[in-house]
């Protein structure tokens, strides 16, 4: 039986661009180029490696996002995923993590899965909690923040490097796995991969297809509210000295003046 892997990927504004908030305090996606969250490339990479090891596997990439989020799906397909699902609906605008995870969970149930793989955190919201929430909503084991992952005979094993210890984990499928940027470099799409991706199927689903009401998602349906967003004042320009042989001593003088010594 084929191993059904679904990789959740997010389309995010480029972190090296000038990111800011729109008037409704959602992420401004107009002025900054978007891309597949770099940390989700690691999830796609691990899916490809797991599929390589399995006798028979199929990789679906899934995103919830605006029209341009197709770019993120294309990138994942060009890396080697087989097909894509794009959940897109105007009513999704401004969804918080509870609303987004509701949509992802419904989409996963509809698509069918044995293994869900996500990144460790998005590069814009950076919450790092969506995988745990998905596991809770789907009622399957959470095997998260892995820097090493292996799937064999219906079980997933992996290493989680936590704050105080490194843990070896095991759970049976179906499960939700998230992988860190320590899990192994993501491959670059080959020319052949890019050409092949153009012919791979991308399905579009809206809220109706997932039997979700408009008021369960978006700014209205979210369970958190942003009241204000302000640019941090630029740090006041500091003193910069060129080392002419006394740089370390000058720095010590500064630190002493600030009472650090």
């Amino acid at each position: 039986m084929s191993l059904r892997i679904v990789v959740c990927v997010k389309y995010v504004p480029d972190a090296t661009g000038d990111r800011h908030f729109a008037d409704d305090l959602t992420v401004d996606r107009e002025d900054v180029d978007g891309l597949l969250s770099e940390l989700d490339e690691y999830a796609v990479e691990q899916a490809l490696q797991i599929a390589d090891e399995a006798d028979d596997a199929e990789i679906t990439v899934l995103t919830v996002g605006p029209e341009d989020a197709k770019d993120a799906l294309r990138k994942a397909l060009s890396m080697g995923a087989d097909k894509a699902i794009h959940v897109e609906d105007d009513d999704l605008h401004g969804s918080d993590v509870m609303a987004t995870s509701l949509v992802l969970a419904k989409a996963l149930d509809k698509a069918g899965y044995d293994l869900v793989i996500t990144g460790m955190a998005s590069t814009d919201g950076t919450m790092g909690v969506l995988p745990a929430i998905l596991a809770e909503r789907l009622g399957v084991p959470q095997v998260t923040l892995l820097s090493e992952v292996k799937v064999e005979d219906g079980t997933v094993t992996g290493r989680r490097d936590g704050d105080s210890a490194s843990e070896q984990l095991v759970a049976s499928l179906p499960a939700v796995v998230s992988v860190t940027d320590q899990s192994g470099e993501a491959r670059y799409p080959s020319f052949k991969g890019i050409m092949a991706a153009k012919k791979k199927p991308v399905e579009s689903w809206d809220l109706e297809e997932l039997e979700i009401e408009a008021d369960e998602v978006g700014l209205e349906g979210s369970w958190t509210a942003v009241d204000s967003a302000a640019q941090r004042p630029a740090r006041t320009a500091g003193t910069i000295v060129k080392d002419e042989g006394e740089g370390g001593k000058q720095l010590a003088e500064f630190l002493a003046g600030q009472k650090f010594i």
Binding site: A15, R19, H20, F21, L39, D96, V97, M98, M120, T126, M127, G128, V129, L130, A132, I133, A135, E136, R137, G139, V140, P141, Q142, T144, T157, D161, D163, S164, A165, S166, E167, Q168, L169, V170, A171, T180, Q182, W223, T224, V226, A229, R232, R235, G238, I240, V241, K242, D243, G245, E246, G247, G248, K249, L251, A252, F254, L255, Q258, F260, I261
Partner: protein, 324 residues
């Protein structure tokens, strides 16, 4: 007065500093009720009482160590149920560690509440607690609220001072029944991190970091010696970690630790956006870099353009001399 649940991060009964900071924030909103789980849970009570906990709910069971995250969610939910049944609950506060965030998020789903992660400040407001978050590598500051359910909020280390505020700290045993999901992910083995004797990176008042400019694992002793002269924690950029010069647990930045110390010293680090994301909220920032154009200099209170192999040892020597 409404109560506030505070999830306790502790190691065998020794309460970690971010939990004491949470108690300071919790007291702005209501009366703190602490929840301590696992081995040594009851030993946390004295310190928690000194910092304002009116009650300490404790539970210990092998499941907390043998399975990932979910048993702790079951226990926190039991605490939520018992406190909210008895009175009004204003918020659930959890330290923003990787595990803390996951526990908080799963609890929020179960109790039908919104969640805010990585708050750097918290205040009482007319419509419930208002959290301050740093967004887009800390180039923005946002204020948000949970608008449905009992607010679940995770708070970053160094977001509030630790304050003494004696309270009863009455210990009560928490009755926990584990659900079907609790045993889903087994922890087969656990290798604790070796202690370096230096302060915890996320909690330290001073962090001294090295980057690609350090040019080799064999040179990191320069960074360590500077750190030790100041009683600081040691950090590293991803370039230094990826090169295998320093452990990943010490990485500062978007995919490493986020730090907010009184003083951050960056040596041989260019200041890429992903590095800034983890250190930009530091109070005082100092950099040593041989390239006057390095973006890190845009952030600094004091910068030395020079070779770190000259400047760092001189600085360490001078600090030692001044400290006698």
């Amino acid at each position: 007065m409404a109560e506030v649940l505070v999830y306790v991060d502790h190691v065998d009964g020794a309460v970690r500093k971010p939990t004491l900071e949470l108690l300071t924030l919790a007291r702005r909103i209501g009366e703190p009720v602490a929840v301590a789980l696992g081995a040594g849970a009851a030993d946390t009570a004295a310190v928690l009482a000194e910092h304002g906990a009116v009650k300490v709910l404790t539970a210990d069971a092998p499941e907390f160590a043998e399975y990932l995250v979910v048993p702790k969610v079951d226990a926190l939910q039991a605490a939520y149920d018992s406190v909210s049944a008895a009175g009004s609950l204003a918020a659930v506060l959890v330290p923003s560690s990787a595990e803390g965030k996951e526990i908080a998020a799963r609890l929020a789903v179960r109790i039908g509440s919104g969640i805010i992660t990585d708050a750097v400040d918290l205040e009482a407001g007319d419509e419930g607690p208002v959290a301050t978050q740093a967004a887009f590598a800390a180039s923005f500051t946002t204020k948000s609220r949970v608008s449905k359910g009992t607010p679940v909020i995770t708070v970053k280390p160094n977001s509030a001072p630790v304050e003494a505020a004696a309270a009863a700290g009455t210990v009560e045993a928490l009755a926990v029944t584990f659900g079907a999901l609790a045993t889903g992910t087994k922890v087969v083995s656990r290798t604790p991190r070796e202690s370096t004797g230096r302060p915890e990176l996320t909690e330290a008042a001073i962090v001294v970091s090295g980057g690609r400019g350090v040019n080799g694992a064999e040179n990191f002793h320069l960074i360590e010696e500077l750190a030790d002269s100041l009683g600081a924690a040691v950090g590293a950029s991803r370039a230094a970690v990826d090169a295998g010069w320093y452990p990943h647990t010490n990485q500062v930045g978007q995919t490493g630790k986020s730090v907010s110390p009184q003083l951050y010293i960056a040596s041989g680090i260019s200041g890429a956006i992903q590095h800034r994301a983890g250190m930009q909220t530091s109070k005082t920032i100092v950099a040593i870099n041989k390239d006057a154009e390095a973006p890190i200099f845009d952030l600094v209170d004091y910068g030395v353009v020079g070779d770190l192999f000259e400047v760092v040892p001189q600085l360490t020597g001078e600090i030692k001399a001044r400290k006698g």
